[in-house]
């Protein structure tokens, strides 16, 4: 198992290197320059600024310099504010982003599991159909539409919750809920299908024939095994959530990483683009690794295969 993890961590860094390279050269293809009002700058001022940030060097030299700093964990300075490091921007922005992301995935998975289990146990009943209608809407309607609707009805019309900004726990509810709708829908659908399949297997009948009560069989044999695919889809779901936060943070004016990322692209803020892209990639690869390890823990058949490879 340790060898397996070590191998995965090594390939993780290789992936990051490739992502850094591709992003770096793509970014250089972006039109425009990072400096505002550059028409007003004189030739020498522009040269001085470019010189200061090392932008006069040939691109391959810039690339090597960047990688050298990256290896030391230094993501460089932003162009937007004087003397602010990208590292500090990320650590400031990650707080709100990670919070709504985590809230959305926890809440979404929990509600999704409950809906899916209820739908499977009451197969072909009102509960089942109701849960699946919710799931179809949740998948079909993007999170920013929910965000807008919630802002208008819950925030403006009813005035129950704040429409935007980030000043305390009550500010979390609308953005986290808008983000979680897709998670609820996906998890509920997967859980229902998987539960129905497992409820029909021989080993459920076998467990019942031992005299174990129906509820205990459902909990110990069925729900646990039905969660295996849920853990698999949690990886892609988290990735979707990260993309979701980019938009949701803009809609709710949350000073998170997503907002900074979008802004940095508009401003050609090269170090921030690089920094946030790499950070997001790192996050995604870590999530995938964690999911794979979790998968091995919950499903012994994979554990053995992983241990041998």
């Amino acid at each position: 198992m340790l060898r397996y993890i070590a191998k995965r961590v090594f390939s993780m860094f290789l992936t990051l290197l490739i992502i850094a390279t591709i992003t770096f050269f793509l970014m250089k293809l972006l039109p425009g320059s990072p400096f505002n009002n550059q028409e007003k700058l004189t030739e020498s001022q522009r040269f001085a600024l470019n010189e200061k940030y090392g932008l006069n060097d040939p691109v391959p030299v810039q690339y090597i310099n960047y990688l050298g700093k990256l290896a030391q964990g230094d993501l460089g300075y932003t162009f937007q504010y004087d003397g602010r490091t990208v590292n500090s921007m990320i650590s400031n922005g990650i707080g709100p982003s990670a919070t709504i992301g985590a809230e959305a995935i926890l809440f979404g998975t929990l509600i999704g599991l409950i809906l899916g289990i209820a739908a499977a146990l009451k197969h072909n009943s009102v509960i089942d159909y109701g849960a699946m209608v919710v799931a179809v809407f949740g998948i079909a309607i993007p999170s920013f539409v929910f965000a807008g609707l919630l802002q208008y009805y819950v925030g403006v019309k009813l005035g129950w919750l704040p429409v935007a900004f980030w000043n305390g726990p009550e500010y979390h509810i609308l953005p986290a809920f808008s983000l979680s709708v897709g998670v609820i829908a996906t998890v509920a659908r997967f859980m229902r299908t998987e539960m129905l399949e497992i409820l029909g297997t021989d080993y459920i009948l076998m467990a019942r024939s031992k005299g174990i009560s129906k509820n205990a069989v459902i909990l110990k044999h069925c729900v646990r095994n039905s969660m295996i695919p849920i853990i698999t889809i949690l990886g892609p779901l988290s990735i979707g959530l990260i993309t979701g936060t980019l938009v949701i943070e803009n809609i709710f004016a949350i000073p998170g990483l997503g907002e900074q990322f979008v802004k940095s692209i508009n401003l050609n803020d090269y170090p921030v683009i690089m920094g946030t892209t790499l950070f997001y990639s790192f996050l995604l690869i870590t999530i995938i690794l964690v999911v794979d390890i979790l998968y091995g823990i919950i499903d012994p058949r994979i554990r053995v295969a992983g241990g041998k490879s």
């Binding site: 024939s209 005299g211 044999h221």
Partner: protein, 339 residues
């Protein structure tokens, strides 16, 4: 001998989109202590449904017992509550399923799967239950039980898994063991081992066995008495000797004739022509009439009563009526000559 289990006029139906499927239509039999009874018949004859009805494990919404009683030690299981059934399942009556590859939970160690029943029915603590599990694994012939008790099903071969399933079923010393095609999914060499094991365990524990199978070879190995099912009914019942050597029902003849024989010159494998009856609209008369080479007019419209052939042997066939023409079983159905 003591009657342990007594089924009387059991009717089981399934509600499907197409209508009501009458899978079991008036099955009666008794099982005595320590006895082994085989229920034989082709797919769809109602043998598995009968056994699931005894366990009350019919699919909840669609399957139900329409009529009849299942008396177990005087108590009617057909009317028992779910809570009462939970006490009986696994401790008094337990079951082995057809496919050992799918009847064990893949994410639970086999030890835990054996211990579940022990902890529920015998109030054992964890270490007692584990010790008993190891003993059970030893009993069913699994080498290194101390190590293997903590392994998962995928680490066992098919035959070994079926041994584990048997260990689970026997964990609480049940009085009745229902084995639903216990060897069908196994290799022929493993089949013999599992049958030997079951016979051996029956000698040791005195558990009565209901063996459900379509394989007459298995029956000959294990059963003392045989009930032949067709179209949701028992058409012939008797001791194993009577069924093999003096069969009376044409369906039983067909079954015996379709058994491959090692000493036969014929390269052809005999089959019973036709298909089993549609149990959505079961025939009024004998269910086998449409496929029976000896069918008479009376067979189409009237179900024959079970006729006593001997004190242990009954068959439901109009050929046994004194007015019927004398018909001899086909040569292919004669097992090893008359005895």
């Amino acid at each position: 001998m003591d009657k342990l289990l007594e089924l009387e006029n059991l009717h089981v139906s399934f509600q499907t989109y197409g209508g009501e499927v009458k899978a079991v239509r008036g099955v009666s039999f008794t099982l005595e202590k320590g006895e082994s009874l085989a229920i034989v018949g082709e797919s769809g004859s109602g043998k598995s449904v009968t056994s699931k009805a005894v366990m009350r494990l019919l699919p909840n919404k669609i399957g139900s017992i329409k009529e009849g009683s299942i008396r177990f030690e005087g108590k009617d299981l057909a009317k028992a509550t779910e809570r009462e059934m939970e006490k009986i399942r696994g401790s008094e009556i337990s079951m082995i399923f057809q496919d050992p590859m799918t009847s064990l939970n893949p994410t639970m160690t086999i030890g835990k799967q054996i211990m579940e029943g022990l902890r529920k029915h015998q109030n054992m603590n964890k270490s007692e239950a584990k010790e008993r599990s190891i003993n059970l694994l030893k009993l069913v012939g699994i080498p290194n039980p101390e190590l293997r008790v903590d392994e998962y099903p995928h680490q066992f071969s098919g035959g070994m898994r079926q041994r584990v399933v048997i260990a689970i079923a026997l964990a609480c010393n049940p009085k009745v063991l229902i084995a639903d095609e216990p060897t069908t999914a196994l290799d022929v060499t493993i089949q013999a081992q599992i049958l030997d094991l079951m016979r051996d365990l029956q000698d040791k524990t005195g558990t009565a066995i209901i063996l459900i199978t379509h394989d007459l070879g298995v029956v000959a190995n294990l059963a003392q008495r045989v009930a032949v099912m067709y179209g949701g009914m028992i058409v012939e019942t008797g001791t194993a000797d009577e069924i093999f050597y003096k069969p009376k029902h044409p369906y039983t003849w067909g079954l015996l004739a379709s058994m491959p024989k090692i000493n036969s010159d014929s390269k052809e494998l005999l089959a019973i022509p036709g298909t089993p009856p549609d149990l959505m609209n079961p025939p009024k008369g004998c269910p086998f009439a449409a496929r029976c080479p000896h069918a008479m007019e009376v067979c189409i419209d009237h179900m024959p009563d079970a006729t006593d052939v001997s004190s242990t042997h009954k068959a439901a066939c109009w050929l046994l009526d004194e007015r019927a023409p004398k018909v001899e079983p086909p040569e292919a159905a004669v097992v090893g000559g008359a005895r």
